[in-house]
Amino acid sequence: MGMGEYVITICSGSNCEGRNSRALESVIAKELAKRGLADTVTVSVSGCLGMCGKGPVVIVNPQYTIYNYVTENDIPEIIEEHVCKGKPVARLAVVEDHLFNRFYRVFGDVKFFSKQMRIALRNCGIIDPENLDAYLSVRGYEALAKVLTNMAPQEVIAEVKKAGLRGRGGAGFPTGVKWELTAKAKKEDKVVICNADEGDPGAFMDRSAIEGDPHTVLEGIIIGGYAVGAKKGYVYIRAEYPLAIKRLERAIDDARKAGFLGNNIMGSDFSFDVEIKLGAGAFVCGEETALIHSIEGSRGMPRPRPPYPSEEGLFEKPTLINNVETWANIPVVILDGAEWFSSIGTPTSKGTKVFALAGKVKNTGLVEVPMGTTIREIVYDIGGGIPNGKKIKSVQTGGPSGGCLTERDLDTKIDYESLAKAGSIMGSGGMIVIDEDSCMVKMAKFFLEFTQNESCGKCTPCREGTKRMLEILTRITEGKGVEGDIEKLERLGNMIKKASLCGLGQSAPNPVLSTIKNFREEYEEHISGGKCRAGECATFLSYEITDKCVGCTSCKRVCSAKAISGEPKKKHTIDPDKCTRCGLCYSTCKFKAITKLNDRRKS
């Protein structure tokens, strides 16, 4: 792909498709074939290109010429004039200078990217993150200039509200409402905070956003400061992200020198500065009140709300806290407009969401898709499906606070409400694909181990409850589960959710409860069936040597438990009582003479 002289992209977003954009595909193919161009021109079908009012939309690259209202009758002219003669068809072309989807010019012809829409990550991987000129050349700081020139603070807030942007940290609180609450707080001295304390295992959206395009995040923060009337901003970022910190420091320095930070920004009467605060990497510090305590120099522990930070936050000042991805959306909301922004997504969730796609999927990576994209589209169209011909079992979203969806939920459209309805959460954007080789009990145990470790210990339900749940899960995976354990987990889990002080405890049982709900039979098999169907829990495995054994003795030599006996050149045997089920003999045997059973009863 991408080898032809031209790439023709056809939008297949629902609006364009409704106007018959898919019919264009065959006409284009026919016209190209007629001219013998079928091999040199690449035709790609994209997801929504974000120009819904003008559909069907066709883009011809490399010039990124956008054709709108394209009909089948226009195709021969586009192919003849533009592709054959190199002259774009002015009659159909439309000039757009959107901020979103800039990456399309470079990556639009690759399937992994063509179904994505990029707003927050629009410059990531496209420009030099340490060069202010590169950011300025893609309309950097123009959104800030626009609000300082033409918009009163309340107009900025109104625009963010109208856009329908919601918090990308996971909870989905309407951003504009948060801004309004902070702006209306009575105390004069206000602060804004960027929460870059990304802590979900396997999630790296915020790191990539800051490393790839730090000025975008910074510009968002400055605009937020202007809107709520703050003079000071903080970026709370974990010390484990040294490169992100370095690039952010550089961006802040460059912005200060250029007059985008400091006193009288761009000659206006608005003054604002930003400071970086490093966190030590405690998961709980992503919770806003714990984060505030950490910046203040106290131990990172949450406190009950209200008062909410918008009333009384950092150093008792009214405080606006947004996540990195939320901030990165702000310049686009301002320049491409609330009206456009709210045209993308579902009725309740607007814009896009970044996911860190990982696990048993062919193409792992960072994915930004419009809200309303189905999980199936992410896993199969973008992720390329499950490798090695395995079957999909589950998709985990929301990290240690989220839940496991089943194959039945694959057509769930991604937005805050529908993910919650399906039993998971949007979360900050972790998405882990799980195939049939993974044990759901072990998966739940992994996440609970994480939250149990990260529990700050302040409130009893979270501190003690997660510990007890983990003990039960551990004994289940060790084959020592007893009747009633599942019910105990459910009772404990629901209690912890209700009684915990902060979001960490309130969501910690989710991975366990959702796997019990969707994969209860796996728990039951572990407890009373003596079996782990995925073959992951070693205690349920048994190894046997078959008649294929030639007596090479290599298994006997690697077995540290001395469970294998036998004379050279004669069939060996395994003593199940001594066997620790490490699997080393199984992987060592060159003759495939050792069988693995994942059902203890059958052995």
Binding site: P62, C124, G125, E211, G365
Partner: protein
């Protein structure tokens, strides 16, 4: 008085001018992924190959770092972008491949198809 909007348009024009003076339009632009993930996959060594080439007099190359575009399992990634042509996207680039990309693509204009993203 100059409004912030007028000011930023001027700054943008100046920035674009500086970039063009550096050869943005006239040369082959080489973008090497330099996020934490890319560096972990070995992109720093790849970057060094391109830097050394420029030091040793290879011309016609506008070298830039870039952040992570999100294609984790294909890193390190390098794009060669030429005005008016479809950008060429190399994946899993090693220092040895980088040397070849300089010899064959940068110097002779040959796209090494088998190393590009599929």
């Amino acid at each position: 008085m100059v409004t912030p909007l007028e000011l930023i348009k001027k700054k943008k024009a100046e920035a674009i001018n500086r970039i063009i003076n550096d050869g943005y339009l006239s040369m082959k632009r080489v973008y090497v992924g330099m996020a934490t993930c890319e560096i972990a996959a070995g992109s720093k060594e790849v970057m060094d190959v391109f830097k050394d080439a420029i030091k040793n007099g290879v011309s016609g190359m506008f070298l830039s770092q870039k952040g992570c575009v999100g294609r984790c399992n294909l890193e390190p990634t390098v794009e060669v972008v030429e005005e008016g042509k479809i950008p060429v996207k190399y994946v899993k680039v090693t220092p040895a491949k980088a040397k070849d990309i300089i010899e064959r693509h940068i110097k002779k204009g040959e796209v090494i198809k088998e190393w590009t993203v599929q």
